[in-house]
Symmetry: C2
Subunit: 349 residues, 2 copies
């Protein structure tokens, strides 16, 4: 029996609801393949602030260190967002978790599902066949530089070391070699010194991957190209802040934010989470789409080397898409509830 | 006779071609209304580096200081972009010009033209009627903070003072009161201290404009909302880097980058330019769309208080759109050349 220990952080808003469905699917995988998944459920985010004053309590961090992987729902609560004076914020927990575990590469696959082309705001012929993998650096840049106030203003510093760029670039190049051998660096090298360093380092590393064609796009142009011609992208590599923006933008290609999984990988740790937020308005209504979290579990299974298991989960998701067993944002006429979608996918597995 | 002095900076690539057409239209306005426009043509960008070693020679800056307005084509050349080691870059000239003249507010109107709905990658029903005005802060933030290298890395600092935020916020709020009374601040207040300051200051200033409904969007969400539901936006206000990204992204709504004008305004100076770049691949081919530059001239006329003249130019552009007198990207079947489009619009005026 293969045993894996998973730290489960349901988080805030719809987080617990989508995580519950993903765990159903994981349970089904465990039964079918005879694996054992030990779950360690912990508080994180606004719920952790409410309970302990800290968005990432020591016990949660400890559980994450001890786990083989982490499954996260979503965090965030509007009571912090419009309150610039709040001293403690749910997001701080997530940022500290990424940093503490060294989760330097955030990986977001974006695919246009054939059966959902009509749901995208983009014309079908622009997106049909689009299939990209976004590598976002996750533990550096302006997110983690010194920040603060002065007498009359505020500042945020952005710093990147060669080492930080190098390690995430290697994983992105490696991914490109298993795909269509194309890598696009998104930066703002006509203005930022950090971007010029990114370009330099990536040009050097490119020499080690001669099969990969590299191109460079300024982030403003990339934000436009993502919509004009998303099929041009295979692997995208970019720094933390640009990756945040570009990957959320890219989600429109899939037709719903509720479909998009992510993995955040470090030397020793790995975290899996849907890219959507905690959607507090949707909490408790049974309308949250669990597929992004379920596909995050598929990424986790791949990370464990369980390729067959991962493929089965993806097949089950495709079956739900084909049969239109989908939450309201993708099936207005005959919507299914969160737990119905999760149950359907788990049953298939 | 009203006399206005205009510094004309054709710049690089297709810049001179589109500026030539805009000047035809300006000449037509001058004849029709009996105004006098004194043109002072100067070097700027890569062509200025080639000629003088400096992307913004002293004589160009001087001409800009003495002018009532500046008309810029486009700057930039690929020989600098992929050369991280280049010491002098065309963009530095533009950034220095913005800073020297104190052009703190960059204003970009984005409209979905009814006759061009089919050209947008977005579905027509998502964009029909979309009409927004983006206010991008242009002389602060990470563009102008200290930047440089360390032994093992590179840094860019982002700073905003209350004063910098306040002055651009006021012009944006004022614009909102003449439109649909809605203002959206785009920031990343869940991570950046500068964004939290933006939110604070904008919340304070909002009290002075009780008719304006204000909302706040994180930039990642905004990048998505721009595509999912662009009609929700009226006035958007944001900092320099986010504005760069969001406004280029928004250009997909219009159906072509070649349609979008901009104004950059300071206490005493004003610069008008198309938002597209120098498109070096298109240079000399007669395929550059002059409409963005012509509409930038319309914004210049408005700035001069010549509302009737501005309206006539916009009417002439609409007529070219209706009659499909358009460059290839908007009229593949029966394309017109740059100078034909410019001539047609000038003739109408
Ligand atoms: C919640 C927030 C801090 C986070 C980020 O900006 O990284 C989120 O937007 C994401 O992309 O995971
Ligand atoms: C050329 C570049 C420096 C410039 C910017 O980033 O501001 C351009 O993209 C723009 O938006 O005017």
């Amino acid at each position: 029996v293969l045993t894996k220990r998973i730290a489960v952080l349901p988080g805030d808003g719809i987080g617990p609801e989508v995580v519950a469905e993903a765990l159903k699917v994981l349970e089904a995988v465990s039964e079918r393949f005879g694996h054992q998944f030990e779950l360690d459920v912990q508080l994180m985010g606004a719920c952790a602030i409410d309970a302990t004053g800290d968005p990432l309590p020591e016990s949660t961090l400890q559980a994450c260190f001890e786990a083989d992987a982490i499954l996260l729902g979503a965090i965030g609560d509007p009571k912090y967002d419009n309150n610039p004076a709040a001293q403690v914020r749910p997001e701080q927990g997530l940022l500290r978790l990424r940093k503490s575990l060294g989760l330097f590469a955030n990986i977001r696959p974006v695919t246009a599902y054939d059966v959902l082309l009509s749901h995208s705001p983009l014309k079908a012929d622009r997106i049909a066949g689009a299939d990209m993998l976004i590598y976002r650096e996750l533990t550096g840049g302006i997110y983690f530089g010194e920040k603060g106030r002065t007498a009359d203003g505020a500042f945020d510093n952005c710093f990147y070391s060669r080492e930080e760029i190098t390690r995430v670039a290697h994983v992105a190049f490696q991914a490109a070699t298993t795909r269509r051998n194309k890598l696009t660096l998104v930066d703002k090298a006509n203005v930022l010194e950090t971007s010029r360093l990114w370009r330099e380092v990536v040009q050097e590393i490119a020499l080690e991957y001669p099969s990969v064609a590299v191109d460079f796009l300024f982030v403003d142009n990339a934000a436009m190209q993502m919509i004009l011609n998303p099929k041009q992208f295979d692997v995208i590599l970019t720094e933390n802040m640009f990756g945040d923006i570009i990957s959320d933008e890219a989600s429109v290609i899939a037709g719903s934010l509720g479909l998009l999984p992510s993995a955040s990988i470090g030397e020793t740790a790995a975290l899996f989470e849907p890219i959507h937020g905690s959607f507090p308005q949707g909490k408790g209504l049974g309308i949250a789409n669990p597929i992004a979290t379920i596909l995050s579990v598929a990424m986790m299974l791949e990370h464990f080397g369980m390729q067959e298991e991962a493929n089965l989960v993806k097949e089950a998701v495709q079956y739900a898409l084909d049969k239109k067993v989908l939450t309201p944002e993708l099936n207005q006429k005959n919507p299914f509830r969160t737990e119905q979608v999760g149950g359907f996918i788990a049953d298939y597995v």
